[in-house]
Amino acid sequence: MTERASIAIVAARLLVERRMILYACALAAVAGLARPHELAVTVFFCSALGIVAALLQTPGRYPDLDLCEQSAPLFGRQLARAKGVAPAIVAILVTLAYFAPQFARSPNATAAFFIAAAASIASTAVALCATLREGTPRALYVAFACAASAGAFLIAAIGTSFAGELAYCALVTFLALRQYGEALARYDPVPQ
C-alpha cells in the first residue's frame, strides 16, 4: 500500500470524527484543569477516551468509508496500520488537551504526558480489536485495553521505570495491531 492510501484513510477517519475529537479534547482540557496532578487519573482518563476513539472505528458507523476500505486492494495488516493511526492520533490529541492547562502553568509535566500518551496509545490499539467482535469477545477486548492501561501505570508509577513503561506500551501496541490486522484480513462484512 502506498503512503498516499494510508494518509487518505487516516485523514478520512479523522475528518468524519472531527466533532467527536473536538468534544473529547474539550472534555479532556476541562478534566485537566480539575485534576491535573494525579497520574492514575490522568492515565486512566486519557486511556478511556482513547478506547472510545477506537470503538468509534466499529464497522457500520460510516458505511461508505467501511466499504471503500474493505473493497480496496489493501492487505489486512496494511489496513490495520492505517486504521490504527487515526485513533492513536485522537489519543495523543486528547492527552495533549488534558495536559495543556498543566503545560501552561509549568513545563515540568512532560514525563507524565509521555507516560499517559503511551498508555493511551497502547489501550487504544488493544481496543481496536474489539471493533470487529461482538458480545463477550468485544467486552473482553475492552477489558484487555483497560488492563493494558493499568499495566502501563503500574510500571511507570510503582516500578518507577519510564523506559520500561514505554517499552511495554510499544510491545502491547505492536501485538495488538498484528492481531487487529489478522482479524481484518479474516473479517467478512456480511449483513446479519
Binding site: T2, R4, A5, I7, A8, I9, A12, P63, D64, L67, C68, E69, Q70, S71, A72, P73, L74, F75, A185, D188, P189, V190, P191, Q192
Partner: protein, 190 residues
C-alpha cells in the same frame, strides 16, 4: 477464459448459510442472477467481488482466489452496494480523491473520469450514481452490482462500457426486468 468463476460456492459464517452458487462470467459478458433473499444476493455479490471469502466451493476472480489473493481480486472487481450512498454533493470530489488514493489512481485522472461517468449516469439518483462512479474510477475489469435498480440498467451499462458485469437480484422478475431494460447491451443474459 472467465473473469469470474464460482463453483458450488457457499458462505457459512455470520448467520444462515448462502449458496451453493455456480456461475461463470466471461470478459465483456453481462450476467444477472436472482437469489431467494436480499441477504443471499448481498453475500453472493460480496463473494464475487472478493470482499467476502467463500466457506466452501470455489470462487476465482480473474484466476485469483479471494481466500489467498484478495488484493489481486479487488484490483479486478469493482463492487457497487445495494444501499444508497450517504455522500453529499459537496463531498463527491473528496470521495473521488479518497478512492483514487486507495486504488492508487492519479487524482486528476480520477476526477476527469468521475465527471465523465456522472455524465453517463445523468438521470440516476445521486445516491446510487456516486457508488457506481466510485466503483468505476479504478477501471475494474469486472463490475459486481448488488441488487441494482432495474430502472437504471441502461445508465449503468452505459457507464460500465464493455467490461463484464455480474448483478444479483432478489427475484427472477427483478433480474429479468434488469435484463429487459438493458436488452441491447446484454448479449449473454443467463
Amino acid at each position: 477464459m472467465t473473469i469470474l468463476r464460482m463453483r458450488e460456492a457457499c458462505f457459512h459464517a455470520r448467520g444462515a448459510s448462502v449458496g451453493p452458487v455456480t456461475v461463470d462470467v466471461a470478459p465483456g459478458e453481462r450476467v444477472a442472477r436472482a437469489f431467494p433473499s436480499g441477504r443471499d444476493a448481498a453475500v453472493v455479490a460480496l463473494m464475487a467481488a472478493g470482499i467476502v471469502k467463500a466457506g466452501s466451493g470455489i470462487v476465482l476472480v480473474g484466476e485469483f482466489d479471494p481466500r489467498v489473493q484478495s488484493v489481486h481480486c479487488k484490483r479486478i472487481a469493482g463492487y457497487v452496494p445495494h444501499a444508497p450512498s450517504r455522500i453529499a454533493d459537496s463531498e463527491f470530489e473528496r470521495y473521488v480523491a479518497y478512492r483514487a488514493a486507495l486504488w492508487n489512481v492519479d487524482p486528476m485522472r480520477a476526477t476527469a473520469h468521475a465527471k465523465l461517468l456522472m455524465e453517463r449516469l445523468a438521470g440516476v439518483h445521486e445516491a446510487f450514481a456516486y457508488s457506481i462512479a466510485g466503483a468505476l474510477i479504478a477501471s475494474p475489469a469486472l463490475l459486481v452490482l448488488d441488487r441494482p435498480q432495474p430502472a437504471y440498467a441502461r445508465h449503468i451499462l452505459a457507464a460500465a462500457g464493455p467490461r463484464a458485469i455480474f448483478s444479483t437480484h432478489v427475484t427472477a422478475s427483478a433480474a429479468k426486468e434488469f435484463a429487459a431494460a438493458a436488452a441491447d447491451a446484454l448479449p449473454a443474459m443467463r
